[in-house]
Protein backbone atom coordinates (compact mmCIF):
# COMPACT_ATOMS: atom_id res chain seq x y z
CA UNK A 1 0.00 0.00 0.00
CA UNK A 2 2.86 2.34 0.81
CA UNK A 3 4.43 1.65 -2.58
CA UNK A 4 1.07 2.23 -4.25
CA UNK A 5 0.78 5.63 -2.60
CA UNK A 6 4.32 6.43 -3.70
CA UNK A 7 3.50 5.39 -7.26
CA UNK A 8 0.58 7.81 -7.22
CA UNK A 9 3.09 10.57 -6.62
CA UNK A 10 2.55 10.95 -2.90
CA UNK A 11 5.77 11.16 -0.98
CA UNK A 12 6.84 11.27 2.66
CA UNK A 13 4.12 12.16 5.10
CA UNK A 14 1.30 11.98 2.52
CA UNK A 15 2.28 8.41 1.54
CA UNK A 16 2.55 7.37 5.17
CA UNK A 17 -0.88 8.86 5.97
CA UNK A 18 -2.46 7.35 2.85
CA UNK A 19 -1.16 3.88 3.76
CA UNK A 20 -2.40 4.18 7.36
CA UNK A 21 -5.80 5.50 6.34
CA UNK A 22 -6.29 2.76 3.76
CA UNK A 23 -5.47 -0.01 6.22
CA UNK A 24 -7.84 1.37 8.92
CA UNK A 25 -10.97 2.49 7.08
CA UNK A 26 -13.25 2.54 10.15
CA UNK A 27 -10.83 4.68 12.14
CA UNK A 28 -10.32 6.99 9.17
CA UNK A 29 -14.09 7.39 8.72
CA UNK A 30 -14.54 8.16 12.43
CA UNK A 31 -11.74 10.74 12.25
CA UNK A 32 -13.31 12.28 9.17
CA UNK A 33 -16.70 12.60 10.89
CA UNK A 34 -15.07 14.16 13.95
CA UNK A 35 -13.15 16.63 11.78
CA UNK A 36 -16.32 17.52 9.88
CA UNK A 37 -18.13 18.14 13.18
CA UNK A 38 -15.26 20.25 14.52
CA UNK A 39 -15.12 22.32 11.32
CA UNK A 40 -18.90 22.84 11.38
CA UNK A 41 -18.83 23.96 15.02
CA UNK A 42 -15.84 26.18 14.27
CA UNK A 43 -17.65 27.77 11.33
CA UNK A 44 -20.74 28.33 13.47
CA UNK A 45 -18.64 30.08 16.09
CA UNK A 46 -17.11 32.27 13.42
CA UNK A 47 -20.48 33.47 12.24
CA UNK A 48 -23.45 35.21 13.73
CA UNK A 49 -25.23 31.85 13.79
CA UNK A 50 -23.25 30.90 16.88
CA UNK A 51 -24.23 34.12 18.65
CA UNK A 52 -27.89 33.62 17.70
CA UNK A 53 -27.82 30.02 18.93
CA UNK A 54 -26.06 31.05 22.14
CA UNK A 55 -28.53 33.83 22.85
CA UNK A 56 -31.42 31.47 22.03
CA UNK A 57 -30.27 29.12 24.77
Amino acid sequence: MFVEAKEQGKGGLAAWFDARARSRPALFTAGLVLLAAAVTIGLLFKTDAAIILYQGF
Binding site: D18, A21, F28, T29, L32, L35, V39, G42
Partner: protein, 386 residues
Protein backbone atom coordinates in the same frame (compact mmCIF):
# COMPACT_ATOMS: atom_id res chain seq x y z
CA UNK B 1 -26.26 5.63 -18.89
CA UNK B 2 -26.82 8.41 -21.42
CA UNK B 3 -29.76 9.68 -19.38
CA UNK B 4 -27.58 9.76 -16.31
CA UNK B 5 -24.89 11.72 -18.18
CA UNK B 6 -27.49 14.20 -19.41
CA UNK B 7 -28.75 14.67 -15.84
CA UNK B 8 -25.22 15.23 -14.53
CA UNK B 9 -24.55 17.78 -17.24
CA UNK B 10 -27.86 19.52 -16.56
CA UNK B 11 -27.05 19.61 -12.82
CA UNK B 12 -23.65 21.23 -13.39
CA UNK B 13 -25.13 23.69 -15.92
CA UNK B 14 -27.97 24.69 -13.59
CA UNK B 15 -25.53 24.98 -10.67
CA UNK B 16 -23.32 27.30 -12.73
CA UNK B 17 -26.31 29.34 -13.92
CA UNK B 18 -27.66 29.71 -10.37
CA UNK B 19 -24.23 30.75 -9.11
CA UNK B 20 -23.91 33.34 -11.87
CA UNK B 21 -27.44 34.61 -11.25
CA UNK B 22 -26.78 35.12 -7.54
CA UNK B 23 -23.43 36.82 -8.20
CA UNK B 24 -24.62 39.08 -11.03
CA UNK B 25 -26.80 41.86 -9.64
CA UNK B 26 -28.29 43.13 -12.92
CA UNK B 27 -29.25 41.82 -16.35
CA UNK B 28 -26.63 44.06 -17.99
CA UNK B 29 -23.90 42.06 -16.19
CA UNK B 30 -25.26 38.77 -17.52
CA UNK B 31 -25.62 40.15 -21.06
CA UNK B 32 -22.09 41.62 -21.09
CA UNK B 33 -20.62 38.39 -19.73
CA UNK B 34 -22.56 36.36 -22.32
CA UNK B 35 -21.28 38.59 -25.15
CA UNK B 36 -17.72 38.31 -23.83
CA UNK B 37 -17.86 34.51 -23.61
CA UNK B 38 -19.84 33.89 -26.81
CA UNK B 39 -17.50 36.11 -28.85
CA UNK B 40 -14.80 33.49 -28.18
CA UNK B 41 -17.03 30.70 -29.37
CA UNK B 42 -18.02 32.60 -32.54
CA UNK B 43 -14.39 33.36 -33.43
CA UNK B 44 -13.42 29.74 -32.66
CA UNK B 45 -16.02 28.51 -35.16
CA UNK B 46 -14.59 30.85 -37.82
CA UNK B 47 -11.01 29.78 -37.02
CA UNK B 48 -11.97 26.09 -37.19
CA UNK B 49 -13.28 26.62 -40.73
CA UNK B 50 -10.45 28.86 -41.89
CA UNK B 51 -7.41 29.21 -39.62
CA UNK B 52 -6.30 32.83 -39.94
CA UNK B 53 -3.47 34.42 -37.98
CA UNK B 54 -4.84 37.89 -38.81
CA UNK B 55 -8.29 37.10 -37.39
CA UNK B 56 -6.78 35.50 -34.29
CA UNK B 57 -4.48 38.48 -33.66
CA UNK B 58 -7.31 41.00 -34.23
CA UNK B 59 -9.60 39.08 -31.88
CA UNK B 60 -7.00 38.78 -29.10
CA UNK B 61 -6.28 42.53 -29.34
CA UNK B 62 -10.03 43.35 -29.20
CA UNK B 63 -10.62 40.90 -26.35
CA UNK B 64 -7.67 42.29 -24.36
CA UNK B 65 -8.96 45.85 -24.88
CA UNK B 66 -12.44 44.80 -23.70
CA UNK B 67 -10.89 43.02 -20.70
CA UNK B 68 -8.77 46.02 -19.71
CA UNK B 69 -11.80 48.34 -19.91
CA UNK B 70 -14.14 45.95 -18.08
CA UNK B 71 -11.55 45.46 -15.32
CA UNK B 72 -11.11 49.26 -15.13
CA UNK B 73 -7.31 49.22 -15.15
CA UNK B 74 -6.11 52.47 -13.62
CA UNK B 75 -3.52 53.10 -16.32
CA UNK B 76 -6.45 53.84 -18.67
CA UNK B 77 -6.47 57.22 -16.95
CA UNK B 78 -3.29 58.03 -18.86
CA UNK B 79 -4.90 57.53 -22.28
CA UNK B 80 -8.52 58.55 -21.87
CA UNK B 81 -9.06 60.20 -18.50
CA UNK B 82 -12.18 58.81 -16.86
CA UNK B 83 -13.82 57.89 -20.18
CA UNK B 84 -13.02 54.18 -19.95
CA UNK B 85 -13.42 53.91 -16.20
CA UNK B 86 -16.88 55.41 -15.83
CA UNK B 87 -18.85 52.16 -16.17
CA UNK B 88 -20.03 50.14 -13.16
CA UNK B 89 -19.77 46.66 -14.64
CA UNK B 90 -18.14 44.15 -12.29
CA UNK B 91 -18.16 40.81 -14.03
CA UNK B 92 -17.58 37.73 -11.94
CA UNK B 93 -14.58 35.56 -12.82
CA UNK B 94 -13.65 37.75 -15.79
CA UNK B 95 -9.88 37.40 -15.32
CA UNK B 96 -10.02 33.61 -15.56
CA UNK B 97 -12.60 33.59 -18.37
CA UNK B 98 -10.21 35.84 -20.32
CA UNK B 99 -7.32 33.35 -20.01
CA UNK B 100 -9.48 30.34 -20.86
CA UNK B 101 -10.88 32.18 -23.87
CA UNK B 102 -7.47 33.03 -25.32
CA UNK B 103 -6.34 29.43 -24.78
CA UNK B 104 -9.50 28.18 -26.51
CA UNK B 105 -9.25 30.31 -29.67
CA UNK B 106 -5.48 29.82 -30.02
CA UNK B 107 -5.78 26.04 -29.67
CA UNK B 108 -8.72 25.90 -32.10
CA UNK B 109 -6.68 27.87 -34.64
CA UNK B 110 -3.72 25.52 -34.16
CA UNK B 111 -5.96 22.47 -34.62
CA UNK B 112 -5.45 21.29 -31.04
CA UNK B 113 -9.20 21.47 -30.38
CA UNK B 114 -11.32 19.72 -33.01
CA UNK B 115 -14.78 19.38 -31.47
CA UNK B 116 -16.63 22.56 -30.62
CA UNK B 117 -19.93 21.80 -28.86
CA UNK B 118 -21.54 24.98 -27.46
CA UNK B 119 -22.91 23.35 -24.30
CA UNK B 120 -19.49 21.94 -23.41
CA UNK B 121 -17.80 25.29 -24.12
CA UNK B 122 -20.22 27.26 -21.94
CA UNK B 123 -19.74 24.83 -19.08
CA UNK B 124 -15.98 24.95 -19.56
CA UNK B 125 -16.09 28.73 -19.19
CA UNK B 126 -18.81 29.12 -16.57
CA UNK B 127 -18.83 25.97 -14.40
CA UNK B 128 -18.85 26.97 -10.73
CA UNK B 129 -15.69 24.99 -9.85
CA UNK B 130 -13.29 27.19 -11.80
CA UNK B 131 -15.34 30.30 -12.55
CA UNK B 132 -14.45 32.39 -9.55
CA UNK B 133 -10.68 32.06 -9.16
CA UNK B 134 -9.37 29.24 -11.33
CA UNK B 135 -7.33 27.08 -11.47
CA UNK B 136 -6.98 27.71 -15.22
CA UNK B 137 -8.14 24.46 -16.75
CA UNK B 138 -7.34 23.47 -20.34
CA UNK B 139 -10.31 22.79 -22.61
CA UNK B 140 -9.03 19.44 -23.94
CA UNK B 141 -9.02 17.91 -20.47
CA UNK B 142 -12.41 19.37 -19.57
CA UNK B 143 -13.91 18.10 -22.84
CA UNK B 144 -12.60 14.61 -22.10
CA UNK B 145 -14.20 14.62 -18.64
CA UNK B 146 -17.43 16.19 -19.96
CA UNK B 147 -18.01 13.07 -22.12
CA UNK B 148 -18.55 10.79 -19.11
CA UNK B 149 -18.57 12.87 -15.89
CA UNK B 150 -17.53 9.75 -13.99
CA UNK B 151 -16.61 10.62 -10.38
CA UNK B 152 -12.82 10.42 -10.05
CA UNK B 153 -12.48 8.70 -6.65
CA UNK B 154 -12.09 5.04 -7.68
CA UNK B 155 -12.95 3.41 -4.34
CA UNK B 156 -14.25 4.14 -0.84
CA UNK B 157 -10.77 5.09 0.40
CA UNK B 158 -10.25 7.65 -2.36
CA UNK B 159 -13.72 9.03 -1.67
CA UNK B 160 -12.84 9.52 2.00
CA UNK B 161 -9.54 11.16 0.99
CA UNK B 162 -11.52 13.52 -1.27
CA UNK B 163 -13.82 14.52 1.60
CA UNK B 164 -10.76 15.00 3.78
CA UNK B 165 -9.26 17.34 1.20
CA UNK B 166 -12.44 19.43 1.15
CA UNK B 167 -12.36 19.68 4.95
CA UNK B 168 -8.67 20.59 4.96
CA UNK B 169 -9.43 23.26 2.36
CA UNK B 170 -12.16 24.71 4.59
CA UNK B 171 -9.78 24.71 7.56
CA UNK B 172 -7.12 26.53 5.51
CA UNK B 173 -9.52 29.19 4.20
CA UNK B 174 -11.82 29.74 7.15
CA UNK B 175 -9.42 29.32 10.07
CA UNK B 176 -5.71 29.41 9.19
CA UNK B 177 -5.94 32.13 6.51
CA UNK B 178 -8.37 34.16 8.60
CA UNK B 179 -6.08 33.91 11.62
CA UNK B 180 -3.03 34.96 9.55
CA UNK B 181 -4.92 37.98 8.17
CA UNK B 182 -6.21 38.98 11.59
CA UNK B 183 -2.77 38.57 13.19
CA UNK B 184 -1.05 40.44 10.35
CA UNK B 185 -3.44 43.38 10.49
CA UNK B 186 -3.93 43.56 14.28
CA UNK B 187 -0.59 42.48 15.76
CA UNK B 188 -0.16 42.64 19.55
CA UNK B 189 1.05 46.00 20.86
CA UNK B 190 3.64 44.25 23.01
CA UNK B 191 5.50 43.32 19.80
CA UNK B 192 6.57 46.95 19.34
CA UNK B 193 6.68 48.87 16.07
CA UNK B 194 9.37 46.69 14.47
CA UNK B 195 7.73 43.46 15.68
CA UNK B 196 4.37 44.55 14.27
CA UNK B 197 5.94 45.29 10.91
CA UNK B 198 7.66 41.91 10.89
CA UNK B 199 4.38 40.15 11.75
CA UNK B 200 2.67 41.92 8.86
CA UNK B 201 5.62 41.15 6.56
CA UNK B 202 5.52 37.38 7.25
CA UNK B 203 1.87 36.72 8.02
CA UNK B 204 0.29 38.49 5.06
CA UNK B 205 2.02 36.11 2.56
CA UNK B 206 0.87 33.19 4.74
CA UNK B 207 -2.68 34.52 4.54
CA UNK B 208 -2.47 34.79 0.72
CA UNK B 209 -1.14 31.22 0.46
CA UNK B 210 -3.61 29.53 2.81
CA UNK B 211 -6.56 31.45 1.39
CA UNK B 212 -5.85 30.55 -2.24
CA UNK B 213 -4.44 27.05 -1.66
CA UNK B 214 -7.39 26.17 0.60
CA UNK B 215 -9.83 27.42 -2.02
CA UNK B 216 -8.05 25.28 -4.63
CA UNK B 217 -8.22 22.21 -2.34
CA UNK B 218 -11.98 22.65 -2.07
CA UNK B 219 -12.69 23.14 -5.78
CA UNK B 220 -10.27 20.43 -6.98
CA UNK B 221 -11.77 17.84 -4.60
CA UNK B 222 -15.38 18.91 -5.17
CA UNK B 223 -14.97 18.91 -8.97
CA UNK B 224 -13.50 15.39 -8.85
CA UNK B 225 -16.71 14.18 -7.19
CA UNK B 226 -18.55 15.46 -10.28
CA UNK B 227 -16.08 13.79 -12.64
CA UNK B 228 -14.10 16.92 -13.56
CA UNK B 229 -10.32 16.98 -13.17
CA UNK B 230 -9.23 20.46 -12.12
CA UNK B 231 -5.42 20.86 -12.29
CA UNK B 232 -3.30 21.30 -9.18
CA UNK B 233 -2.30 24.90 -8.50
CA UNK B 234 0.28 24.75 -5.69
CA UNK B 235 3.35 22.68 -4.87
CA UNK B 236 4.93 23.94 -1.61
CA UNK B 237 5.79 27.35 -3.15
CA UNK B 238 7.55 28.80 -0.12
CA UNK B 239 10.26 26.14 -0.48
CA UNK B 240 11.22 27.42 -3.95
CA UNK B 241 14.94 27.99 -4.55
CA UNK B 242 14.50 30.98 -6.90
CA UNK B 243 11.76 33.01 -8.55
CA UNK B 244 11.54 30.76 -11.63
CA UNK B 245 11.11 27.78 -9.31
CA UNK B 246 8.60 29.78 -7.26
CA UNK B 247 6.38 30.41 -10.28
CA UNK B 248 6.37 26.70 -11.16
CA UNK B 249 5.07 26.00 -7.63
CA UNK B 250 2.76 29.00 -7.05
CA UNK B 251 -0.45 29.43 -9.06
CA UNK B 252 0.96 26.84 -11.43
CA UNK B 253 -1.88 26.98 -13.93
CA UNK B 254 -1.30 30.72 -14.39
CA UNK B 255 2.46 30.18 -14.81
CA UNK B 256 1.95 27.43 -17.39
CA UNK B 257 -0.57 29.58 -19.27
CA UNK B 258 1.90 32.50 -19.30
CA UNK B 259 4.64 30.13 -20.49
CA UNK B 260 2.53 28.70 -23.33
CA UNK B 261 0.74 31.84 -24.53
CA UNK B 262 3.15 34.69 -23.72
CA UNK B 263 6.74 33.56 -23.07
CA UNK B 264 7.11 30.86 -25.76
CA UNK B 265 5.43 32.79 -28.65
CA UNK B 266 7.40 35.95 -27.75
CA UNK B 267 10.70 34.06 -27.56
CA UNK B 268 10.03 32.13 -30.78
CA UNK B 269 9.13 35.36 -32.60
CA UNK B 270 12.38 36.99 -31.50
CA UNK B 271 14.40 33.87 -32.31
CA UNK B 272 12.90 33.76 -35.82
CA UNK B 273 13.57 37.42 -36.62
CA UNK B 274 16.88 37.89 -34.79
CA UNK B 275 18.37 34.50 -33.89
CA UNK B 276 21.59 36.15 -32.66
CA UNK B 277 19.59 38.09 -30.05
CA UNK B 278 17.62 35.15 -28.72
CA UNK B 279 20.09 34.25 -25.93
CA UNK B 280 20.12 37.69 -24.34
CA UNK B 281 16.51 38.50 -25.05
CA UNK B 282 15.35 35.44 -23.12
CA UNK B 283 15.70 37.66 -20.03
CA UNK B 284 13.45 40.25 -21.61
CA UNK B 285 10.87 37.54 -22.39
CA UNK B 286 11.03 36.27 -18.80
CA UNK B 287 10.56 39.82 -17.55
CA UNK B 288 7.66 40.61 -19.90
CA UNK B 289 5.89 37.31 -19.12
CA UNK B 290 6.04 37.67 -15.35
CA UNK B 291 5.39 41.41 -15.49
CA UNK B 292 2.14 40.68 -17.34
CA UNK B 293 1.30 37.91 -14.85
CA UNK B 294 1.75 40.42 -12.04
CA UNK B 295 -0.26 43.18 -13.69
CA UNK B 296 -3.09 40.72 -14.40
CA UNK B 297 -3.57 40.26 -10.63
CA UNK B 298 -5.27 43.64 -10.25
CA UNK B 299 -6.21 46.94 -11.83
CA UNK B 300 -4.36 49.36 -9.55
CA UNK B 301 -0.79 50.71 -9.66
CA UNK B 302 0.50 48.49 -6.85
CA UNK B 303 0.04 45.48 -9.15
CA UNK B 304 2.31 47.14 -11.71
CA UNK B 305 5.03 47.27 -9.03
CA UNK B 306 4.20 43.64 -8.14
CA UNK B 307 4.64 42.73 -11.82
CA UNK B 308 7.94 44.62 -12.18
CA UNK B 309 9.39 42.91 -9.07
CA UNK B 310 8.35 39.45 -10.23
CA UNK B 311 9.62 40.10 -13.75
CA UNK B 312 12.94 41.30 -12.35
CA UNK B 313 13.08 38.29 -9.99
CA UNK B 314 12.71 35.65 -12.70
CA UNK B 315 15.03 37.50 -15.11
CA UNK B 316 17.68 37.69 -12.34
CA UNK B 317 17.29 33.95 -11.59
CA UNK B 318 17.83 33.11 -15.28
CA UNK B 319 20.82 35.47 -15.47
CA UNK B 320 22.38 33.87 -12.36
CA UNK B 321 21.94 30.40 -13.88
CA UNK B 322 23.64 31.57 -17.10
CA UNK B 323 26.54 33.06 -15.14
CA UNK B 324 27.10 29.75 -13.31
CA UNK B 325 26.96 27.81 -16.61
CA UNK B 326 29.39 30.27 -18.23
CA UNK B 327 31.88 29.96 -15.35
CA UNK B 328 31.55 26.32 -14.32
CA UNK B 329 29.70 24.64 -17.19
CA UNK B 330 26.63 22.38 -16.99
CA UNK B 331 28.42 20.03 -14.61
CA UNK B 332 29.18 22.95 -12.31
CA UNK B 333 25.50 23.95 -12.39
CA UNK B 334 24.49 20.42 -11.37
CA UNK B 335 26.98 20.51 -8.46
CA UNK B 336 25.65 23.93 -7.46
CA UNK B 337 22.03 22.71 -7.56
CA UNK B 338 22.88 19.60 -5.51
CA UNK B 339 24.57 21.61 -2.74
CA UNK B 340 22.25 21.43 0.30
CA UNK B 341 23.45 24.56 2.21
CA UNK B 342 23.20 26.64 -0.99
CA UNK B 343 19.74 25.20 -1.64
CA UNK B 344 18.44 26.29 1.79
CA UNK B 345 20.16 29.67 1.59
CA UNK B 346 18.55 30.21 -1.82
CA UNK B 347 15.13 29.19 -0.46
CA UNK B 348 15.60 31.60 2.47
CA UNK B 349 16.45 34.46 0.10
CA UNK B 350 13.59 33.58 -2.25
CA UNK B 351 10.91 33.49 0.42
CA UNK B 352 12.02 36.93 1.62
CA UNK B 353 11.94 38.30 -1.90
CA UNK B 354 8.42 36.86 -2.30
CA UNK B 355 7.38 38.53 0.98
CA UNK B 356 8.68 41.85 -0.40
CA UNK B 357 6.67 41.40 -3.64
CA UNK B 358 3.54 40.60 -1.63
CA UNK B 359 3.77 43.91 0.22
CA UNK B 360 2.16 45.19 -3.01
CA UNK B 361 -0.74 42.75 -2.77
CA UNK B 362 -1.88 44.19 0.56
CA UNK B 363 -5.15 46.12 0.66
CA UNK B 364 -4.39 49.84 0.64
CA UNK B 365 -0.92 49.39 -0.87
CA UNK B 366 -2.12 51.21 -4.02
CA UNK B 367 -2.38 54.42 -1.97
CA UNK B 368 1.20 53.98 -0.76
CA UNK B 369 2.43 53.37 -4.31
CA UNK B 370 0.63 56.47 -5.61
CA UNK B 371 1.96 58.53 -2.67
CA UNK B 372 5.51 57.26 -3.27
CA UNK B 373 5.22 57.99 -6.99
CA UNK B 374 3.98 61.55 -6.31
CA UNK B 375 6.81 62.10 -3.81
CA UNK B 376 9.31 60.88 -6.42
CA UNK B 377 7.87 63.19 -9.11
CA UNK B 378 7.94 66.03 -6.62
CA UNK B 379 11.58 65.33 -5.84
CA UNK B 380 12.48 65.16 -9.55
CA UNK B 381 10.64 68.46 -10.15
CA UNK B 382 12.49 70.10 -7.25
CA UNK B 383 15.87 68.83 -8.41
CA UNK B 384 15.06 69.89 -11.98
CA UNK B 385 13.81 73.29 -10.83
CA UNK B 386 16.54 73.94 -8.31
Amino acid sequence: MLGSLWLKRAFITLGGAAFLWVQSPELIHVVTLALFVLSGYGVALLLARRPSTGLLAAYIIALTAAFVILKRYEFLNLVGGDTFLAHALDLIGLSFIFFRQIHYVVDVKQGEIKQLPLWGYLNYQLNPFTLLAGPIQRYQRFHEDWQTLTPKPADAHELRMTYLRILIGVVKVAFIADFCFWFATTPPEAAGALGQRLILFYFFPLYVYFNFAGYCDIVIAAASLFGIRVPENFDRPYLARNMIDFWTRWHRTLSFWIRDYVFTPLYMAIARVKPQWSGNLAFVCYFVALFLAGVWHGATWNFVVFGVLNGAGVAAAKLWENIIVARAGRKGLRTYLANKPIRWLAAFATIHFVCVTQVFLRPGSEDNVVAAWRALLDLVARVGGG
